[in-house]
Symmetry: C2
Subunit: 161 residues, 2 copies
Amino acid sequence: MAAFSLRDARPDDLGDIVRLVRALAEYEKLLHEAVGTEDDFRDALFGPNPRLFCTLAELGGRAVGQAIWFYNFSTFTGRHGIYLEDIFVEPEHRGLGIGEAFFRNLAARAVAEGCTRVEWQVLDWNEPAIRFYRKIGARGMDEWRVQRLSGEALAAVAASA
Amino acid sequence: MAAFSLRDARPDDLGDIVRLVRALAEYEKLLHEAVGTEDDFRDALFGPNPRLFCTLAELGGRAVGQAIWFYNFSTFTGRHGIYLEDIFVEPEHRGLGIGEAFFRNLAARAVAEGCTRVEWQVLDWNEPAIRFYRKIGARGMDEWRVQRLSGEALAAVAASA
């Protein structure tokens, strides 16, 4: 089996990071929505107090996948958690266990840092993914619905402040 | 109508912050799960590079509600968003518009900081809350389900890394 490795992203990975974000968007047929630039990701990932983090998977010296994550928080436990915003592996490099390795890597980081949980979202019809998440012991928070205020509605609420 | 005001929390508010977190937990009949201490919140809210934020509502010089939030991120837009983790207003001070004021305050902050969205979660059976969220223009991301790895399952995945 081809050997891959995971490592924290560095500023010279910005080209790969944006390429992989756009590859995920293309896979989801949402490439027109992926407008983030290298400058946007530089600010978020590599500024003085970053609030965003990226772990890359390398295979043969090339970035073939990434996990992009940040810290969330549980007010009941008083501890941070890790929230996995995006995980992507290039289609031609699937089946090597890279996706699972990202989950193990983030779980190990969470435990090492005293975080009480790792969370992410899945589309409710993505049964293969949900089966995998149950297999590793993740629980579906199925009563909860994410609410999003954006675009003109966000501007309108902001203007009423 | 009683006049309230919103302001950023300060270190000398830690007692009120934990009191209001525990009041929310009690309201949800989950007080036994609310184990976070003032030290936990001091570390998260008032350390050198905080990744958690708290906005307090004051009425008559007393903290009567709070919003606890952090920055999330949209990889497609390349911008941060604001994620509202907890919002609570003491039952005896509801109906004054404090909850709506927290949403306006966070929306204004998001717009001012170039964030593309404000997000939060609601229980799927909480119809009065969902009606309010639709009224202010929030969209339900109803196809998505949050997955959570915690406790022994988190430790097991971490140990396999």
